[in-house]
Symmetry: C2
Subunit: 276 residues, 2 copies
């Protein structure tokens, strides 16, 4: 390892701070990964981590991670506690911060599996929602997440953190809405648009076909380009306007999982065969 960085004025330190801003990330095609858990998943998934910065006072706690990083050719850079406090996130960072190249995110690079299930987000703003959608996309085993016109870039460190590591396990593409719609149509993928005003309930849709679920922002909804596609709604019994977009995505994704799964669903059982 090269010399420990101890100066808050070191240009590397200044740049790491700037990478919390989208403009710097976009210009440099870099992103930040906070914490050992996310970095372990990133290395395990061959995510393009280039450097790991580690606070010297806690480096011994991360011996396994750092060894793994060495083996895979990731540069390691020690910093002192004061510098880590400046570059880390929040009040209690665990002492490791990674820098990675933003991976390619072309539509054409998405996996072409047998029975695709895509989730498409349009115009989402809250990093927590994007992260939570990544997390349920991972759990549902989607073919890919496609991000359109995001107010918040998918490589935002708060998205990365909220995704609990799913930023590196879910295939991600970034494209404009017209490109995505065209791409889906050419592949004969049924395109289902979550809209509170839709007449058809999501559970009436046969999701055993190749499918894409289009999720817009909670208040503004999807852009007009999607209005030609099939709208679906989640029935709401209550007085509150809408589900959180991440919860709506989870409900829709897991209905697809349920329909596609091999286990016996309650629908195939007589009404009281299950109750004990």
């Amino acid at each position: 390892m090269v010399r420990t960085i101890t100066s808050l004025h070191n240009p590397i330190v200044k740049n790491l701070v700037q990478l919390r801003q989208r403009r710097a990330r976009d210009r440099q095609h870099l992103m930040l990964i906070d914490g050992a858990r996310a970095l372990r998943l990133a290395l395990h998934n061959a995510f393009p981590v280039t450097t790991i910065y580690v606070a010297e006072d806690v480096a011994h706690l991360h011996a396994d991670l750092l060894q793994r990083a060495r083996v895979t050719g990731v540069a390691l850079q020690e910093v002192n506690a004061a510098v880590f406090h400046k570059i880390g996130y929040g009040d209690h960072p665990d002492g490791v911060l990674g820098v990675a190249a933003q991976p390619g995110a072309e539509l054409t690079a998405l996996p072409a599996r047998g029975l695709p299930l895509y989730v498409v987000t349009e115009g989402l703003e809250k990093p927590g929602n994007l992260g939570a959608i990544l997390r349920s996309a991972d759990a549902a085993g989607v073919t890919g997440l496609i991000v359109c016109d995001s107010q918040t870039d998918i490589w935002n460190p708060n998205v990365v953190r909220a995704s609990q590591g799913a930023f590196c396990t879910v295939p991600i593409a970034i494209a404009s809405a017209p490109e995505v719609l065209d791409w889906l149509r050419r592949r004969h993928i049924q395109t289902l648009v979550a809209m509170p005003s839709a007449s058809q309930c999501y559970a009436e849709i046969d999701l055993r076909h190749p499918s894409a679920l289009i999720m817009g922002a909670e208040h503004t909804g999807v852009s007009p380009i999607w209005h030609s596609e099939r709208p679906i709604r989640i029935p709401m019994a209550g007085q509150v306007d809408s589900l959180n977009v991440a919860q709506a995505a989870a409900i829709l994704l897991f209905e697809a999982v349920r329909q596609r799964s091999q286990f016996r669903t309650a629908d195939t059982l007589p009404a009281d065969s299950v109750l004990h």
Copy 2:
């Protein structure tokens, strides 16, 4: 309306600031409701709002709400902009803040509807998760939310805010886990415990019976008292450990809604009758 409060040292102002802390809320049995949208829902649902504080410079924007409050006997108190800045939440409060009595939250006061569906949370900490669970509980039309041993009180203003108004539309009870388990058993309600290690998938359970879904904290899970009940899991395809607890609750609640609903589900249709 009585005289406008203009002093930051006014004891009422100091107390409103203290009510952001749980200890003060618990002692005074009061809670805060931020914003016009939540207050409108609260008044509409006869929630025990006692006073609404309004910033004098934007009072005219809330004429309807204030008129409604007057009619229902809620006290109104004008404050100047500086005072509202101190008592309101965040950088851009909308200029109205309500104080309400914490409503009674006895198990025995929960509605006894024909086909009950309860969601029970145990040990949850993040206000955003509790709020999101309230929101999906509202959307799913649950009979009640039962809160056990919450690290965060359900009347926390951040829960109230995240619930988007569902704090006053969903019947809420607070009780210890043993009390809740006993109460559910005496009512012959099947008790289903979300656990990643469970062998049975949630979609195999017949949720057309009276049911309670027990949701524990993401990392620690439920306490041992629930281990005698039926564990269910949401199958996870990915590498990330678990769904967010609020997303898991949404998936389970909406599976119950689906099973109980009248609409034709995709399971009853031939495989390609839906695709257009």
